[in-house]
Symmetry: C2
Subunit: 132 residues, 2 copies
Amino acid sequence: MALSAEKLTNNQQTVLDLLEKSKEPLKAYAILYDTQKKGITAPPQVYRALDKLIEIGKVHKIESRNSYIACTHKNCNSSTNTAFLICETCDHVSELTQKNLPSYFAKQSEQADFKYAKHNLEIYGVCKDCTK
Amino acid sequence: MALSAEKLTNNQQTVLDLLEKSKEPLKAYAILYDTQKKGITAPPQVYRALDKLIEIGKVHKIESRNSYIACTHKNCNSSTNTAFLICETCDHVSELTQKNLPSYFAKQSEQADFKYAKHNLEIYGVCKDCTK
DNA sequence: TAAAAAGTGTTATAATATAACATATCAAAT
DNA sequence: ATTTGATATGTTATATTATAACACTTTTTA
């Protein structure tokens, strides 16, 4: 079965639903707080669900913020290539959709005798709304 | 006074010395442990030194590993553009020296109506030594 | 040399994440 | 249909990473 079609468990679906309806990345303990009513009562339940969702590419972690965001790409099943635009003014985060980043980075890596496998890119700046 | 020429305090120098002689990135509490003899006895002392060193570009944080590494560039005085090659086999980390990454990312960002300011790139793969 | 800015030492605590374990559920393959 | 192996669950406890707060000291600069 393809990863992207994988059936989610209750906890996984609960966490994914919350992230998908959120306008912004959420922190693990915010997710915990917001899912108490759905039966998620302890940190491991959140982290396990996140681990699985990240593994199948439905969720990404913003490393520099310790926060988690639902993937905006259709049928994304990759957890290996991530690139974000993070607004320093309003904290909005969007995914940078750039098909050729992996090959670009692979080329750069090769020049340093390094075999590229995956990447995480976090770009900071000012988003469209905040430049107005 | 230029940032890169800034005079460091005792604690800052102690932490920088340790990182510079380390072959690998260090975690904050490892730094704390290794600098006890030098009078650093509590976490805030480490984090303050790191904050300053990061600010002046002498040290970078590997976000996805919560670890810190001395900058390998001569007279680096920037904390705004970082790119690392992280070996998944041996955990060795090296900085990717690529002058044109900022302009490349600025261009990519522009296409998403995003005003680029700085970036952090973490590439995972296999280093030269580990491919042998 | 006074004032402002930056750093220090210290205690306490916040925020983020995982270990461990007994039990439960699910998938698949005989 | 039933065993089996893999995966998930609920729970308690704890590990790891990082900051708040405060009184005091040192350094810089006007």
